[in-house]
């Protein structure tokens, strides 16, 4: 029998949603520079647990990224190089 695994997770500070913290920031699908913070190198949308967004803003970001992809401002997928 294996002894119960000891949880050795380093505690990380709970991130605060950037858009909540700074109300001046707007989510816009045309603003590629901001959206780029929320996608991986491969172009996938970063999960909330990593980006630290609140549910509302994550939703907005997701919508914005999808719009930007549609009009080719962002890539659907980035192939390795």
């Amino acid at each position: 029998m294996k002894p119960p695994m000891k949880r050795k997770r380093t505690f990380q500070r709970r991130k605060v949603c950037v858009f909540c913290a700074d109300s001046g920031m707007k989510i816009d699908y045309k603003d590629v520079k901001t959206l780029n913070h929320f996608v991986t190198e491969r172009g996938k949308i970063l999960p909330r647990r990593i980006s630290g967004n609140c549910a509302k803003h994550q939703r907005d970001i997701t919508q914005a990224i999808k719009k930007a992809r549609n009009i080719s401002l962002l890539a659907f997928s980035v192939f390795g190089s």
């Binding site: 950037v18 700074d22 001046g24 920031m25 707007k26 989510i27 816009d28 699908y29 045309k30 603003d31 520079k33 901001t34 913070h37 991986t40 970063l46 990593i50 980006s51 719009k67 992809r69 549609n70 009009i71 080719s72 401002l73 962002l74 890539a75 659907f76």
Partner: protein, 144 residues
């Protein structure tokens, strides 16, 4: 009235005349449907994130306008779809209700923008959707 913006990507191989004709056409459609034209931005040639009809670059145009009836949007999208020089387009409603005072403010702002050089353009007064420039300057400040 509702405020919409349409981005369309023109084929970069189009001649300057065709580009202008395209812009003119967009303007005339907005006018003929009693829409309120706010602005047409030319973003110039940009690299596309993925090839569209074998083009790796495209010329982006952003049309900002107000419309009373969705017929305007339908007609605009129809013409863009029929035009071979347009690679892709996307229409987004930016504001569901714009009052007549806001329209006047918008008009004043666009007039001021015409007389002022691009850099010194003041932020548009109060219209509900924030100007694009404001959002753009406040990028950054976040890491993954």
């Amino acid at each position: 009235m509702r405020r919409y913006e349409t981005i369309f990507i023109a084929n970069p191989d189009l001649s300057e005349e065709d580009q202008n004709a395209l812009q003119e056409k967009v303007r005339s459609i907005v006018a003929s449907f009693k829409g309120e034209f706010v602005k047409l931005e030319d973003w110039g040639l940009r690299k596309l994130s993925y090839p569209i009809r074998k083009n790796s670059r495209g010329r982006y145009f952003l049309v900002d306008y107000l419309a009373e009836a969705p017929a305007l949007v339908r007609e605009l999208e129809r013409t863009l779809r029929l035009n071979d020089g347009v690679l892709k387009f996307l229409t987004v409603k930016t504001s569901a209700r714009v009052t007549s005072e806001q329209i006047l403010a918008l008009k004043a702002a666009s007039l001021a923008a015409k007389t002022l050089p691009l850099e010194e353009r003041p932020a548009a007064p109060e219209p509900t959707p924030a100007p694009v420039e404001a959002a753009k300057t406040e990028a950054g400040g976040e890491e993954k």
